[in-house]
Structure formats: structure tokens, C-alpha cells
Symmetry: C3
Amino acid sequence: MRRVEPMTGESLGRVIEEIPLVDHHVHGVLAGEVSRRQFEELITESDRPVPAWMTQFDSQVGFAILRHCAPVLGLDPHPDPETYLARRVELGTEEVNRRLLAASGIGHFLVETGYRGDEILGPDQMAAVTGKPAGEIVRLEAIAERVAAEGTDAAGFAARFEAVLWERSRTARGLKTIVAYRHGLDFDPGPPTAAEVTEAAGRWLRASDRSGPARLDDPVLLRHLIWTGIERGLPLQFHIGYGDPDIDLRRSDPLLLRGLIELAEPRHVPLLLLHCYPFHRHAGYLAQVYPHVYFDVGLGVSYTGARSVAVVAESLELAPFAKILFSSDAWGPAELHHLGALLWRRAMTGVLSGFVAEGEWSEDQAVRVATMIGERNARRVYGLGEDA
Amino acid sequence: MRRVEPMTGESLGRVIEEIPLVDHHVHGVLAGEVSRRQFEELITESDRPVPAWMTQFDSQVGFAILRHCAPVLGLDPHPDPETYLARRVELGTEEVNRRLLAASGIGHFLVETGYRGDEILGPDQMAAVTGKPAGEIVRLEAIAERVAAEGTDAAGFAARFEAVLWERSRTARGLKTIVAYRHGLDFDPGPPTAAEVTEAAGRWLRASDRSGPARLDDPVLLRHLIWTGIERGLPLQFHIGYGDPDIDLRRSDPLLLRGLIELAEPRHVPLLLLHCYPFHRHAGYLAQVYPHVYFDVGLGVSYTGARSVAVVAESLELAPFAKILFSSDAWGPAELHHLGALLWRRAMTGVLSGFVAEGEWSEDQAVRVATMIGERNARRVYGLGEDA
Amino acid sequence: MRRVEPMTGESLGRVIEEIPLVDHHVHGVLAGEVSRRQFEELITESDRPVPAWMTQFDSQVGFAILRHCAPVLGLDPHPDPETYLARRVELGTEEVNRRLLAASGIGHFLVETGYRGDEILGPDQMAAVTGKPAGEIVRLEAIAERVAAEGTDAAGFAARFEAVLWERSRTARGLKTIVAYRHGLDFDPGPPTAAEVTEAAGRWLRASDRSGPARLDDPVLLRHLIWTGIERGLPLQFHIGYGDPDIDLRRSDPLLLRGLIELAEPRHVPLLLLHCYPFHRHAGYLAQVYPHVYFDVGLGVSYTGARSVAVVAESLELAPFAKILFSSDAWGPAELHHLGALLWRRAMTGVLSGFVAEGEWSEDQAVRVATMIGERNARRVYGLGEDA
């Protein structure tokens, strides 16, 4: 029997390195300079100050920055943090952004604009800096909070939210919900009634009247946003799993979404589970059994650094390969955009060339799957057309 | 100090290849021909149609079929799906079944007969096709539904169920419950009272009278079935974890069985946790601390293909080696029977030869553990006697 | 660009071998001889008799003892259990303890004294046998049960507990709670009121009056112990995850502690999550986002033997390296102390030299992280000063 000669890890690696990735969930890069303290606080999901007796550089993501971003800025790998940050200042944020984004090889950005949008570049600016197309992902909760801030009454909230959402998402590629942060995924899955929405909107707007803009965390309203988003018909992203401590990680297990997934199934709206760490195997299960469910391991890749190979490997179990996507979920320092892409390429190369070397996959299969996950699946789901 | 010369992966692999596996939880192979669409739907746990924009061959199990089953049918590894399925048709189901089952090297089948039994071969037919012994595992819920279909009243249900169960399991090797599907494992662990059973049976039978055979999903009745099964005294299998979307995966965590496990402990009935993915580490814990608990990673092996090495490795942590078993849980295409055995052998060889190469295990230990898990533990638990 | 020449696994291994580990959670070694039956029951977390048809030596921890402890007792690796135990008897417990503890290379012991303290050596005896410093970790529940046994009334319980805790912990390095065993981690996180404590103490003391010393498992009292412990201000250890079947593993997920972690944050008391298997990734998340949370994979290392490399690797993902500690959690046979240290060193060497070989970490980083986790972090948290 003829044996296929396994592709070497290097040649597969070269192919994977050249995939013009579609980053289907990302935020803008920092617009301005940051201090060391600020930089360290931007490379952790903690929202607490970094204690004086430690540095966040002593972590997988810190080591990965020193290893992989330093050379892009013209340093040897593994400098000390001081050297790295001094070089960053020397080059200036604009040049740092330009270099790291270019080196990431990301070919298309879908930029989520709902979080601290004034500190980072918007989609158009991302496109300008990179010379690559950048579409928008609209955050449902941000729209609702804008509707409240601009003034509405309880009875008019639902109609106003719908109008603004349709307007704001006219050219958007998808929607996003952070119900995992605002409540947890253990919510009643069905759409609330109009009367329930009006009542909940009244409670929320009164709270805002009393003490300034109230955080939208009412489960009735959150469900209403989600179901209105499903009505809108664009691909709908869910934050899942790992994130800042505003989240109760236990209540962000994607298996909690089963009820909603089943109720939404007849609408044929793609549901995209983001990050998912440490529940990525649960997400892989959902992506196998439900035709409209997709997932990625975004944030879990950059933050596990040298260990991201294991995380990516675990994402390649139950899910059909047409249901897995790439994202960086980077926000702020362009190091995170660069690492999201670089560590994903490195992990895919390691895992898939292992499958090929063990004789389990053919090299054609490996190339095809890497291209599907890195680019083609996102192009299909978001209707981005073929790569130019 | 004398250093044991580590056994090479190849020689350990040859030993493992020749273990006449006891497949302690399997279903029959397909009796008839299937179309491509049907075949794709049989190689996923999804019960939904495969979307037009993807093929289920683009998955770990799909790639494993093309890699490992193609050669058994006389093709090179990694053909395209069309070539593979054309060859399948050319040979005919009977020959495909015969070849794939023979090549699996499974030496004893314990066949669970409770699911769509008319589409697949029964235990006797499996024995006839393979020339190997095939015992039966009886599904409790199927017996109860037959009792209802044949006519009984609420007051007579318990006695009738007991009588039919004893009769149907006269020569059976074990029982099985799918309470994980029908309710979830988060049920009140104790046996219900006779009055509760009668009342619940009444509700269920009335529902069946009204609208045809009702699905048995009442937790009181399900608990009654389980406790009657424990009374029967045969080894009792539990579906755990991964399966079709009829399951709420969150409620199939084996840790939810703790109450039942402790209440059942004085009965000395072996409780066998099947599949368990992605909760196999939880199952390993239960198998360490409770003398009557066993587990396997059945279905999680075939469906993770090239990644099954990791799943098998994770199953070899806390549990004593006397408490781990092999199963394929294959249903339908003989490809799944073949892969269940082949991928298990491949994974065990990879993992155990790694332990030996690192100097952690002796080669004798590796051979003994593979034999225990592949064959001896099941022979002891099910009283199958020594291999002929 | 200059490439750092990767350190070989061997040279990194030599450095790691010489770290004078701080074992920040350990118990004493056995004081007397044990039979084979007793020995087997001490090398499992099961509290049930080992069934006659199996031996606990057929497990990862059993194989690891035969592999790694046999040479310390002057045998070849991988003897049969009979040979091993005969040699143990021949040398005598004292010599066995001396040899295995010395070979462990542990440089500082923090000994938890709350569990069956009369069967094992106390901190002073551990220091005498090893010639290394041994501090004490005081178990909150043991103190409370002593207060009850010595006689108190409901109204006086809180004051008496406080007084005895302060007295008993005068020179202690830390406190420990086993609320995971006594209730589960799903408790109301806030401190109970004085009236609630008095009422709960009354219930508990009356139960003890009726039928002898009652197990302290009232959640109000357990919460009171924890909050009094936080008031005391010493580092506070939590049993998490894997342990004997007295625990409901589902209710020992560290994510359940989120409420308490947030309420305790302003007190600046280090919270140390012990073992954590199979929830160690959850612990890593908490250690990243909360400045006062630390964790180890203690017991999960010894009991997974050849697989402990994977467990340690999984612990090196999200947590900053300043937040990870080493412990053996050994109790009884000095084999467990020896394996805790040896398998941790072996796993760290394997994982970190992998990172270095892949070019992801520098050798300096690897050495520094191993030293932080093995020794320096514990010295800082417990105020142990620099190594002599």
C-alpha cells in the first residue's frame, strides 16, 4: 500500500503562516502611549492593580510578548521588560501598532466597538493602519445603553432599541452579546413578552434617573436584546468563559445556552461562541450537534502563551472543522493582536503537523483545515466574499 | 543500579494489537445499504441534517474513517469521501461489515439492544458475522416502554416491569440506563415508594392513552427502573456525558451520581459509567474512591480521532487500572466498531509506550495494564470466563 | 538575529533537582509500621477497603512508588509489591522515613496538624527527622471541635474559639479550612451575625451533648470559622477538589468561592487553593484575576504519577507565575512526600524544558519560574525569609 510521505512541520508551517486570517472578533489597538503600569494592566484580564511584589510580565502572555513581539520591534527575543518597554516608547505607539499589526498577517478584521471605544482605534482607523478591510461587530448592550442615555420611556424602549439597532448595524457584519458578564448564561431562554420588557425597562430607566446611567443587567432586558438581535438576523457572538473578574466563570459555561440554542435554531442565525476557555470542549460538543453553533478559542490562545498548543489541540476534537473559527479578541496593545495570530499559527502548525507525522491526516487535509478555520469559515458565516 | 531497557513502541504495539478486546458496550452493525446523506448522519452524534455547506467527513471521525477504514476496504489511506463511499457500495454492506469487524480484532461483544434494534444486527447476528461470542445488555427504559405498549395498569406496572425485566435479562450480561437522556443525572437518588411508582405510572400510562406511546421521562419511574435494575443484580451501565443533543450535557456529569453511588454501594452491583467525555476525569475520581464504580471513554475515542490519544491519556490518571474498561459504543456503520478498537489500541500504544520510554513504567506493567483494560477487567465484571 | 541556545532538558533538570522546596501544605509521616492492607489503603484517597480482586499498587501512584521509591530503599526500579513491602519492613519505618524524606530534597515543611495527628509525626518531629525547618498550619475546624470538646456554651463559643485560635496559631504560618468537605464551597459568602453564630453553636453543642462529639458541618459555623480566620490575618488555605469520598467533588469547584474571594479582598489575606484537580484551570483563572488568590496542584501530582506532567502543564496557563506554589499534601507513608517532590520536579523539568526547546522561553526564565513556584513564592507569602 502506498504511504503518503508526511509533510514536514516546516512546510505546513509556511502555508499556515501565509493564511490571510479573518479575525472575526477583535477590538482596536491603543491610540495613545501607556506607562509601564498601564501596559501591565492591559496584558491581564484582571481589573485590579498589579501587586507591587510581582510583574505581569512573569506570565505566559508576558513571556510570549518578550519572545515574539520583541523581534518585530527590532530586539532580540527574551529581553527584560524594561528594555522592551523602552524600545516601545522609542518607536512610538503608531509605529509599534503598524509593525505588530502588519506582522500578524491578519487579512480582515471584524472589530467589536462596544467597549471603551474612545481609547482605541475604530474599524476605519484599523483599516487605515493596516490597509486591510475592517468590518464592524455591534454590541447589543452598548446600543441599549445609548438608547437609555439619549432618553426614552419604558413603553417606547423596545421600539427605540429596534430602530437604533437596525440603524447602527446597517453595514455591520455581526452582533455581540455580553450577557455572560451582565447576568450569566443561566437565563430563561425564551423571549420575554412586550409587557415584561416594558416593565423591566421602566425599572432600569428609573434607576438611571435616580443615580446616573445604570448598568444593564436585568435578565428580562438582556433576553430581549438577544431575541431582537436574532430577529435582526446577523451572526450573533456570545462572550463565553474566560474574561475579566466581572464574570462569574461558573455561569459562563456554554452548556447553559442549550435552551436558547434550541429555541433559536429555526431562525438559522449563526451563533458564535467566543473564547470558551476553560469550557472549549463543551463548545466543541455544541458545535457538533447543533448546525448553527460555531466557536473559537480566541482569548484563551494569547493568554496561555507557550501552552496555547494544548488549548488549540483540545478545540480540534468533536466539532466539525467547518464550525471552528479564529479570533484574537485583542483589545489595546497591538502585542495582543500580534500574539493572537502568531500563537494560533504556531499552535495549528504544531498540532496538525503532529497529526500528519503520526500518519493520521494527509498534508492536504491539514492545509485545508487550517485554511477553513483561519479564513474560509468566517468568510462563509459573515458573507465576506472570497479573499482578493 | 540496573536500568530496564524500555520496550519500543512497536513491540508494545504488537502486543496491544493482538488483545482480543471485550467490547462491553456496543450496538449492532447496519443491516442494509445507506446513502451518502444517511452515512454522514450516522457518523455524528447530531440528529440534525448535515448542512449543505459542509460535510461530516471534515471532522476527526471522518478523517479517521478515510485513514483507517479505507485500507480495510482495499483503498489507499485518505481517499476522498466519494471514492470511499463508492468502494463501500461496490463491496456491499455484508462484506464491509465482515471486513471491518474482523479487522477490529474484537473478541467478545456485549450488545446493547434497546435503540432502533430493527435497523441493525442483534447479538446473535453479530456473533454469526464475526464468529465471536456476543452477549446482551438490556436497556431498562426499553423494557418499561414495552411493558406499557403491551398493556398494563398503574397498580400493576411495577410487578409487570419486574417480571418482564427478569425474563428478558435471563441470559443477559448486564443492564443499561439512559436516565442521563431522559431526565439528567440530577435526580433524587433513593428508590421511590410503591405508592409514588403507582402514581407516576398512572400519569405516564394516561398520557400514552391520550396520544400514543409516551416517552418515559418521569424521574420517579426512571429511579424505580434503576433501583429495580440494582435489585436484579447484574452489572448496571449508565450513559454519561457525550451523546446526541437529546442530552443536556451539563446534567450528565457523573459527579451528579454520587448520592446513588453511595446508596447502592451495599448491594455490590458494579456500576459502569460509559463514555464520560468531557467528564472522564470526574469518572476516574469516582472509580478511585468507590469500589463498585468503573468507567470507559468509549464514544469519546472514536469521535476524537487523531486526538483520542489525549482522551485515553486523561483516563489513565486517578482510577486504579482494575476499574477501567474498553468499549466502542459503535452503532450502525461498522466503521465505528473498527475505529473504536483501532483508535483505542493506537492511543494505548502511544500513551503506554511513552510511559515506558520515559522510564516511568516497566514494559511488563504496560502489557498487563493494556490487557486488564482491553479484556480482563470486563471478563471479571461480567463473569465471561477466560478467553478460549 | 541572535538565537538563544536552548538549555538542554538535563541541565535544567539538574537545577530543578536542587531547589530546596518549600512544601507549603503537608502532613507528617507515619510513626509506626503498617501491614500491606494498611499500606494500600494509605496510597488511595478512597476510605473503603481495597477489594480482594485488585491491588492499589495497580495504579499511577502505585507504579510511581515501585519506580521511584524502590531505588531509595536500595531495590531496582519496578519490583513487585511484595518485594517492595518486604524491603520496607526490613529497613524499618524510621529508616524508610529518613531515606525518603532526605531524598525528597524538601527544604522547609509547613505541616498541617488537624487530621489524625496521633498516627503521624508532628512539625517538631518532622524537623528532627529531616534537619529542616518545619512550621505549622492550623486547621480551623479542628480548633473549633476542640473548643466544643473542652466545654463551652453557645453564647461563649465565638469568644472561646477566637481565644483558642489566637493561642494555637501564635507561631503558626497559616490556617486551613476544610469547608469543602464539611459542606461544599457553595456557601453564603458573607460573615454570619453574632446571633446566627450563637444559635448555630447552640444546635451543634446540643447535638454533641446528645450523642457525643458532633461533626462540625453547619454552614453558619463554618463561615464563622473562615471569617474569624481571615480576621486572624494569616495566609488561609482551602482544600479544593480531589480528596477522599467524604467530599462532593462537584461542590468543591473553586469557582464557587468567587463571592468569598471578593468579600475578603480588602483584608489582603492570601487565599491559597490546594490541589484543585480536576478544577486546576479554574484555580489558574482565579489566581490571574484576584491579587490575593494563589494555588497549587499538590495531591493531583502524586496521584497521577506518570501523567502528572500533564497536570502540572495545565497549571501553567493563566496564572501569573508569582501565584503558583508547590505542595505534596502527603499524609502518612513517606513515599507520598518523596513522590510529591520528585514528580513535581520531573514534571516541571519536562514541561519547562519543552518550552525552552521550542524556543518559547529562555533558560533563565525557566530557572526563575521553577524557583518561584518551588520555593520563592511560598517564602514571600508565609514570610519565611530567605533560604539559609
